[in-house]
């Protein structure tokens, strides 16, 4: 099928007619220059970006299909403008064998709404004792390149060193959930004056920063690459900045919620705002925004973490950690980074598509908007405003922290390999 996008603003800049054919960008022409297609989209005043790539998604399948499935999670991803997601390994069973990652990958292909790239576990059962068969997962049909025990930190320094070394054989990367376990036993929220007042066990910044500091030094020592998941503190930004200045091969991501929400919201004791790592202070929010703007932080990654209603409709301590993110991520980035002048649209493309695709070693994603490139694309209305209604999200779960919040900008259309998955803001 052929598609014509009329008058789209390339990276928010000049208007062009975009011709899509056979899954690729077949032509970029001055407005009015292109002929018809099977599908013609009026894209005037809409921003065209490469399809978004999420490095950190919990699709919950296999094992917790009551919270999300690969089908519903893929739908949420497409609606959020994503054409590729990395499905985290902490499923039941854990994605720690070639068999499980291939199953996840195939289910993604079957759903057909975005490319699902499984993340492999670093250690068997996420138990932090023994390396999983990383090579077998890398060689499988799922072609795994990102390995993570996310949800749990690879705390053992020797195991972390070995994992970093081992993945060099197939150009893999270890994505670390940086959380020193002893410093965070029973932790409920950011540790600071507010946790003291609320009587909630603190999760200190140092528990994240100490692991990041260790791991960038390890990555340097064994000349491998490490990726930092959901970096959340000012100190973490400083450590990553320092490491990059030294030429260490480190990359980092920040979540949308850490870009916009602070710990203050824990005063409600509503577990909807309970997340790991926890929401931090306004100073931390400012630091991660600045880090994302100057490129110290490479990517925005959602850490989309669906949970059934009953796991959030309870007291804080009993609540599950995590928030939905796929359908709101781009709006949060527009609000916090674009509308504030910290990033232009090329910057958004870089942090939400180009760099995450490069970190995940994805060939067909995060490509420039040029003739001949794969047509993984998203069209965004930057001036639209919408309100989050949890009941209308495509995700099977409802645990968004943005209920009733006015969101900036919205995804109008998403194209996966030239085929629309979303048109007029709805699944096709």
């Amino acid at each position: 099928m052929s598609v014509l996008l009329k008058g789209a603003l390339l990276y928010g800049e000049e208007a062009v007619d975009v011709v899509i054919a056979e899954g690729r960008i077949a032509g970029l022409e001055p407005p009015g220059g292109a002929s018809d297609g099977d599908l013609v989209v009026d894209a005037r005043s809409l921003v065209l970006l490469p399809g978004l790539v999420d490095l950190h998604t919990h699709l919950r399948e296999p094992g917790r299909e009551d919270a999300e499935t690969i089908q519903t999670g893929s739908a949420a991803a497409a609606l959020g403008g994503f054409t590729a997601v990395h499905a985290m390994a902490n499923t039941q069973p854990v994605a720690d064998t070639a068999g499980v990652v291939e199953q996840v990958w195939r289910r993604g292909v079957d759903a057909g709404l975005c490319d699902v790239f499984p993340v492999g576990a670093v250690t068997v059962g996420l138990r932090g004792e023994q390396l999983a068969e990383l090579g077998a997962m890398a060689e499988s049909a799922a072609r795994v390149r990102v390995f993570s025990d996310d949800g749990v930190c690879v705390n053992d320094a020797v195991l972390m060193r070995r994992a970093l070394e081992y993945v060099k054989a197939f150009d893999g990367v270890i994505a670390q959930h940086a959380q020193e376990p002893r410093l965070t036993e029973g932790a409920q929220m950011n540790e600071g004056a507010l946790s003291g007042v609320l009587g909630l066990r603190g999760w200190p910044s140092v528990a994240e920063e100490a692991i990041i500091a260790r791991d960038v030094l390890l990555a340097d020592h064994v000349d491998s690459r490490v990726h930092i998941c959901h970096l959340s503190t000012r100190g973490s930004v400083e450590i990553v900045r320092w490491a990059k200045e030294r030429g260490i091969n480190v990359t980092a991501e920040v979540t949308p919620h850490h870009l916009v929400l602070t710990e203050e919201i824990a005063r409600t004791y509503d577990p909807r705002y309970k997340v790991n790592p926890p929401l931090r202070t306004a100073a931390d929010v400012e630091a991660v925004r600045r880090g994302l703007a100057d490129g110290t932080i490479d990517a925005v990654a959602t850490d989309h973490a669906p949970h059934p209603h009953e796991d959030k409709d309870c007291e804080w301590a009993a609540g599950a950690f995590g928030m939905l993110g796929l359908e709101t991520a781009l709006s949060v980035v527009i609000e916090t980074m674009v509308d504030t002048g910290r990033l232009d649209w090329r910057g958004v493309a870089d942090r939400m598509s180009v760099r995450p695709a490069r970190i995940g070693r994805l060939d067909g994603h995060g490509r420039p908007l040029e003739v001949g490139e794969p047509a993984n694309l998203v069209l965004v209305d930057p001036s639209a405003r919408w309100t989050v209604d949890p009941a209308r999200l495509a995700s099977r779960s409802r645990n968004t922290p943005f209920v009733a919040r006015e969101m900036h900008g919205r995804v109008v259309a998403t194209f996966l390999a030239g085929r629309p998955t979303v048109l007029e803001g709805r699944l096709t």
């Binding site: 409920q188 540790e191 600071g192 004056a193 507010l194 946790s195 003291g196 007042v197 609320l198 009587g199 909630l200 066990r201 603190g202 200190p204 409600t268 004791y269 509503d270 009953e310 409709d313 309870c314 007291e315 804080w316 301590a317 009993a318």
Partner: protein
């Protein structure tokens, strides 16, 4: 006052009203009349997810003396321990027609959730939540302090109260700092640095690591319970060292002002944070605290449910 969730909810005037009301109610029940008809037809539910015989009995006595219908719901042996959620339990209680729920829970903020989640509509009284707050304990402590230091009237302006022990895990300390500050007293917290919460320097109180420095001339000292197991989590090296540095013995008690008193919210670890001599000594008002607890809780129930009764009447007449 719709709920009582935190001592921070109380203005100085509201706190004084509760203390004055507790005094009045205490006078009545001191006489032969042990029971007042005030809350007849109202239902008070004691919802205890955590064992606390002392606080539960105190609230039960308070509700009974005001002639309220009382339902006690303890976690042990109930559906709660079989995994029924706080929400489901709350809905059940509301269906039983509860006007007020007195809740004790091991999770900080559980009473706040009950009051603000939209699950139920009745008044919520915090009877101790996790390591957050225990406002009625602070009220009874303030009542006791006022009785001894201000002749049972007015506030506590100019008085200095030292609170000693495991501040980090103490809901009693949090509520007392807030309430005593509102009542004009100056509070000094004393503990080893390991047992001070992060950010304690932002609280409306002084902070000291040295008990002998803090005690001289103080009007009162409140000793907090310190669990021996904290030693295993490296909060302090040994019970012996803890008692030596932070325990209250006769010598230290004598550093207080002449009329200075000794409080303890109980249950005590005799020999750990307080010696038996001091616990049973002249300055100790520990037994009195228990009696005052009932009066203060009567006052809280009376003011919260009384206000609701008036609101109901207004609504009915409109």
């Amino acid at each position: 006052m719709r709920h009582l969730l935190s001592a921070a909810d109380l203005t100085r005037d509201e706190a004084l009203l509760i203390l004055d009301t507790a005094g009045e109610l205490g006078k009545v029940t001191d006489r032969a009349v042990k029971k007042l008809p005030t809350l007849r037809g109202r239902t008070v539910v004691n919802l205890f997810f955590e064992d606390s015989t002392r606080t539960r009995i105190s609230f039960e006595a308070a509700a009974k003396r005001l002639s309220a219908d009382l339902i006690t719901f303890s976690a042990k042996g109930s559906s709660v321990s079989k995994g029924e959620s706080l929400k489901d339990t709350a809905l059940t209680l509301e269906a039983m027609g509860a006007d007020a729920v007195v809740v004790r829970h091991e999770a900080s903020g559980a009473p706040h959730r009950l009051a603000h989640s939209g699950w139920i509509d009745c008044a919520v009284i915090n009877a101790g939540d996790g390591t957050h707050e225990h406002p009625t304990q602070a009220l009874l402590d303030a009542f006791t302090l006022r009785h001894h230091l201000s002749g049972g009237e007015g506030a506590l302006d100019g008085r200095r109260v030292v609170i000693v022990g495991d501040v980090l895990h103490s809901r009693v300390a949090r509520s007392n700092v807030l309430l005593l500050h509102a009542l004009g007293a100056s509070v000094t917290l004393v503990a080893p640095p390991t047992l001070m919460p992060v950010g304690v320097q932002t609280w409306p109180c002084e902070v000291s690591y040295d008990l002998d420095d803090a005690l001289p001339g103080a009007s009162a000292v409140m000793m907090l319970r310190v669990q021996r197991e904290r030693m295993n989590a490296a909060y302090f090296p040994s019970t012996h060292e803890y008692s030596r540095r932070y325990g209250l013995d006769t010598r230290r008690a004598s550093l207080l002002a002449d009329d200075g008193i000794v409080l303890h919210p109980g249950p005590m670890n005799r020999g750990m944070e307080i010696t038996a001599d001091v616990a049973d000594g002249q300055r100790s008002v520990i037994v009195e605290q228990v009696t005052n607890g009932v009066n203060v809780r009567m006052a809280v129930l009376y003011l919260i449910l009384g206000a609701r009764a008036e609101a109901d009447l207004t609504e009915a007449s409109q």
